[in-house]
C-alpha cells in the first residue's frame, strides 16, 4: 500500500488565507484571494463558479502544481508551501490523483500503458504493475479495452481511463478539474456516478471543479462557490445518499 501521510481522522485539506496573485503587465491579478476552507476526509466537495472565478487555480494549488503567493495549504497534515519541488512531486504521485477536463491521456500509449504511467513514476515493481493496472481498470469497468489507444475510445471511456490512471497509485484524494466539461450530459452524469461510487467504495476525498450546479448538487456533499477569486459561500447539499434514496423511492 502506498503511504498516504496519515490521512485518517483528520482533514484532507486545511486552507488558511490562501492567495494566488499574478503580475500581468503593470496590473496584479488576484486569481485566488484570501480563501480559507476546510475539506474533511472522505468528503465530496464541488468547487463552483463562473469562468475566471479562480476555482481551477485553487484546485491547482491544492494539487501542488502551483504555490500560493500567501497563506497556507495543509494537505494530509503537511503544509504544501513548505515542501520542496521533490517532496511536492512525491505528494502529487502518492497522495493525490488528478482528472482533467480534456482527459490528458498520452495518445501514443495504449489504455493500459496510460494507466501504468504513474506506477512507473512511483517506481512500483514491474511484477506488481499488471495487477494494479487491472484493479484500477476494474473500478472503471474498462478491462476489455486495455490494448486500445485513446483515439479508439469514446469521450466517456477516455475520462474513465483518466480516472483509472488517477486511482492506480491508490491516493486518498482525487482532484477533478471539470471532469464532465467535454462530455454530453448523460455521459457526464455517468462519470460522476462512477466517481461517487469509487469515492464511497474507497473512502476517498474528492474535490471537483465544475460550473454545472445541478450535477454538483446531485453528487457532491458540499458546494463551495467562488467569484472573483474569493470564496463566496460553502453550502451542504442534500447529499448523494439522500439523492440515491429519493431515486429508489
Amino acid at each position: 500500500m502506498t503511504p498516504t501521510m496519515g490521512l485518517n481522522q483528520q482533514n484532507a485539506f486545511q486552507l488558511e488565507h490562501v492567495c494566488r496573485h499574478y503580475a500581468m503587465g503593470g496590473a496584479s491579478i488576484r486569481a485566488v484571494d484570501d480563501v480559507s476552507l476546510t475539506v474533511p476526509s472522505e468528503e465530496f466537495l464541488a468547487l463552483l463558479g463562473s469562468s475566471g472565478s479562480g476555482k481551477s487555480t485553487l484546485l491547482n494549488l491544492m494539487a501542488g502544481l502551483d504555490r500560493p503567493t500567501n497563506g497556507s495549504i495543509v494537505a494530509a497534515g503537511r503544509n504544501l508551501a513548505e515542501l520542496n519541488s521533490l517532496e511536492l512531486a512525491r505528494y502529487r504521485r502518492e497522495t493525490v490523483g488528478m482528472v482533467f477536463q480534456s482527459f490528458n491521456l498520452l495518445p501514443r500509449m495504449t489504455l493500459e500503458e496510460n494507466v501504468e504511467l504513474p506506477l512507473r513514476l512511483a517506481e512500483v515493481e514491474r511484477n506488481d504493475r499488471a495487477a494494479r493496472v487491472r484493479e484500477a481498470l476494474e473500478h472503471v469497468r474498462l478491462t476489455k479495452r486495455m490494448g486500445h489507444r485513446p483515439s479508439e475510445l469514446s469521450g466517456g471511456e477516455q475520462q474513465r481511463t483518466a480516472i483509472a490512471r488517477a486511482l492506480v497509485n491508490r491516493p486518498k484524494i482525487l482532484l477533478a478539474d471539470e471532469p464532465t466539461g467535454n462530455l454530453d450530459s448523460a455521459t457526464g452524469e455517468a462519470i460522476l456516478t462512477l466517481l461517487r461510487e469509487i469515492q464511497s467504495h474507497l473512502g476517498m476525498t474528492v474535490v471537483m471543479v465544475t460550473h454545472e450546479r445541478p450535477l454538483a448538487e446531485k453528487f457532491a456533499d458540499r458546494l463551495a462557490t467562488m467569484g472573483d477569486g474569493k470564496l463566496l459561500s460553502t453550502t451542504p447539499t442534500a447529499g448523494y445518499a439522500q439523492a440515491e434514496a429519493k431515486v429508489s423511492q
Binding site: N60, L65, D66, A89, R92, R108, E123, N169
Partner: protein, 445 residues
C-alpha cells in the same frame, strides 16, 4: 523513475517522431563518420609509414664506423690528431664481437664499389651494392619486376630501375639475361717480414657473370651509411667473395694498419626492435667504435603524426559540432510539441529531475545510435578510400596499401564521444523541459 522505464519511454518518444529523430541521428552519424574517417586515415597512414620505415631497417639499425671516421674538421690541428690514441679497427674480430651483443639480429658490412658492367657488349659505369638476405623484408622489393635473389650466394643481380632503362628501355626484357661485372679484386701483398697481413695490396682486374633476375625502383635505405645509391644489387655473400677494392681501401693503406686484419669501412648492426637501438648503440660506443642511428627521426615522425591526427580530429569534429546543433534543435522542438505531455507527467508526480533525465536519455539514445552508425560509415569511407587508392596504385604498377585503419580504441572512443556530445547537447533542452510550469504546460493547446 528507474533507468529501464526512462529508456523505454525515451525510445517510445523517439519512435513517435521517427523521421525527424532519424534525420537528427543521421546527422550525428555523419559527424561521427567524418571524425572516424579522418582519424582512420591518420592512423592508417601512420601505421603505413611506421611499418614501411621499420621494414626498411632504418630504425632498427645502427651504423658502426671506426672512431676515426667520425673525426671531422673540429677534431683539432693535425699535430693533435697525430697524437690521438690509435683507433680500434673495424675488422672481422670486431664484427664477431658485435654479432655476440645481446638483441643483435645481424651484422653486415656495407659493400659498395664503383665499377663497370658490360651488357650486350657495351660498358656501363655503375655502383654495385651488396644486399643482405634481410633486405628482402624491407618492403623495397615488394611489387618489383622479377624476383629477389634465389639464394644468399646466387650469382644473380637486381637492377635499379633507372640503370635498367639505360641497359634497355624495355626493362622487363632484361630479366633472365646475363651481364658481366668487371671489377678490381684486392689481393694482399706479402709484408716485408713475409706475413700476409699489413703489406698493402695489389689490384687485379676480374670479371663476374651475373644473371639479371629483377628490376627494383630503389635500393632499400639507399645512400645511408654508404657512398651513394647502389644501381646494381648483388647478394652480400657474393659481394664479399669478390673482395672488390672499395673507396676506403686506399685510405687504409695510407694509414698505418700494419699488423691488422683487413678492416671494414662500416658495419650495419640490426637489433630486434627500434626500442633496443639506444642501449645497443651505447654498448657499441663503449667498445670504441663510432655509432649512430636514425631513432630520433622516428620520434619526430610520431610527433608529426600526433599533430596530424589532432588536426584531422578537429576537422572531423566540425561535422559533429553541426550535428550537435541538430540534436538541440530536435529536442527543443520536442519540448514545444510535448509541452502538454510534460505537464501531464508533472501532474502525475514526475519530478523536475525525471523530466530532465527523460530528455537526457532521448539525447543519449540518439547519440549512441548515431555513434554506432557513424563508426560503421566512417569505416566504410576509409575502406572506399583505400579501394580507390589501390585502384590508382595498380594502374601505376605499384603495390596496394591499406591507408585507413579503425582500431578498437577509435571505435570505442568515437561512440563515447558521440554519446558525450549528445548529452551535452541535451543539457539545455532537458533543463528547459524540467523548468516548465506544469499549470502553463497543461493549459497549452
Amino acid at each position: 523513475m528507474k533507468l529501464r522505464d526512462m529508456t523505454e519511454l525515451a525510445v517510445r518518444n523517439l519512435r513517435e517522431a521517427i523521421l525527424r529523430n532519424s534525420l537528427t541521428t543521421l546527422g550525428v552519424a555523419v559527424g561521427v563518420a567524418s571524425l572516424v574517417a579522418m582519424l582512420s586515415l591518420g592512423v592508417g597512414l601512420q601505421q603505413l609509414a611506421t611499418s614501411r620505415l621499420s621494414k626498411s631497417g632504418l630504425f632498427d639499425s645502427i651504423f658502426v664506423t671506426p672512431k676515426t671516421n667520425l673525426r671531422g674538421p673540429g677534431a683539432g690541428p693535425p699535430a693533435t690528431r697525430s697524437a690521438a690514441p690509435k683507433a680500434r679497427p673495424l675488422n672481422e674480430d670486431a664484427r664477431e664481437e658485435l654479432t655476440k651483443l645481446p638483441n643483435v639480429i645481424e651484422v653486415y658490412p656495407q659493400i659498395r664499389f664503383f665499377t663497370e658492367a658490360r651488357f650486350d657488349g657495351k660498358p656501363f659505369a655503375t655502383m654495385v651494392a651488396g644486399m643482405p638476405e634481410s633486405s628482402k623484408a624491407s618492403g623495397s622489393f615488394d611489387g618489383m619486376q622479377g624476383n629477389f635473389f634465389s639464394a644468399a650466394n646466387a650469382d644473380e643481380a637486381i637492377l635499379q630501375a633507372e640503370f635498367a632503362k639505360e641497359l634497355n628501355p624495355q626493362t622487363s626484357s632484361l630479366i633472365g639475361k646475363e651481364l658481366v661485372l668487371r671489377y678490381a679484386e684486392r689481393q694482399a701483398l706479402a709484408a716485408p717480414d713475409g706475413s700476409n697481413e699489413g703489406g698493402g695490396f695489389s689490384v687485379v682486374p676480374k670479371e663476374k657473370h651475373l644473371r639479371i633476375i629483377g628490376v627494383v625502383e630503389t635500393e632499400p635505405a639507399s645512400g645511408f651509411g654508404g657512398f651513394g645509391s647502389g644501381r646494381l644489387l648483388i647478394p652480400l655473400a657474393v659481394a664479399e667473395t669478390l673482395r672488390a677494392a672499395q673507396v676506403n681501401d686506399l685510405r687504409d693503406v695510407l694509414r698505418d694498419t700494419s699488423g691488422e686484419k683487413p678492416a671494414y669501412a662500416s658495419l650495419t648492426v640490426r637489433v630486434k626492435s627500434p626500442s633496443l637501438v639506444d642501449a645497443t648503440e651505447a654498448k657499441i660506443k663503449e667498445m670504441g667504435f663510432g655509432a649512430f642511428s636514425l631513432l630520433d627521426a622516428s620520434k619526430s615522425l610520431r610527433i608529426f603524426f600526433s599533430v596530424f591526427d589532432l588536426l584531422l580530429g578537429i576537422f572531423g569534429s566540425l561535422a559533429l559540432a553541426v550535428a550537435t546543433l541538430g540534436i538541440i534543435n530536435t529536442l527543443v522542438m520536442a519540448i514545444l510539441e510535448r509541452r502538454r505531455e510534460i505537464g501531464v507527467l508533472k501532474a502525475l508526480g514526475a519530478a523536475d529531475s525525471d523530466v530532465k533525465q527523460l530528455f537526457f536519455v532521448e539525447a543519449g539514445v540518439m547519440g549512441l545510435a548515431g555513434g554506432v552508425f557513424g563508426v560503421f560509415f566512417g569505416w566504410l569511407i576509409g575502406q572506399t578510400l583505400t579501394l580507390g587508392t589501390n585502384i590508382y596504385l595498380k594502374r601505376q604498377d605499384l603495390p596496394g596499401v591499406q591507408i585507413s585503419s579503425v582500431p578498437w580504441w577509435l571505435i570505442g572512443g568515437a561512440i563515447a564521444f558521440a554519446l558525450l556530445v549528445s548529452l551535452i547537447a541535451g543539457l539545455y533542452p532537458a533543463s528547459r523541459a524540467a523548468k516548465l510550469n506544469p499549470v502553463d504546460a497543461l493549459r497549452y493547446e
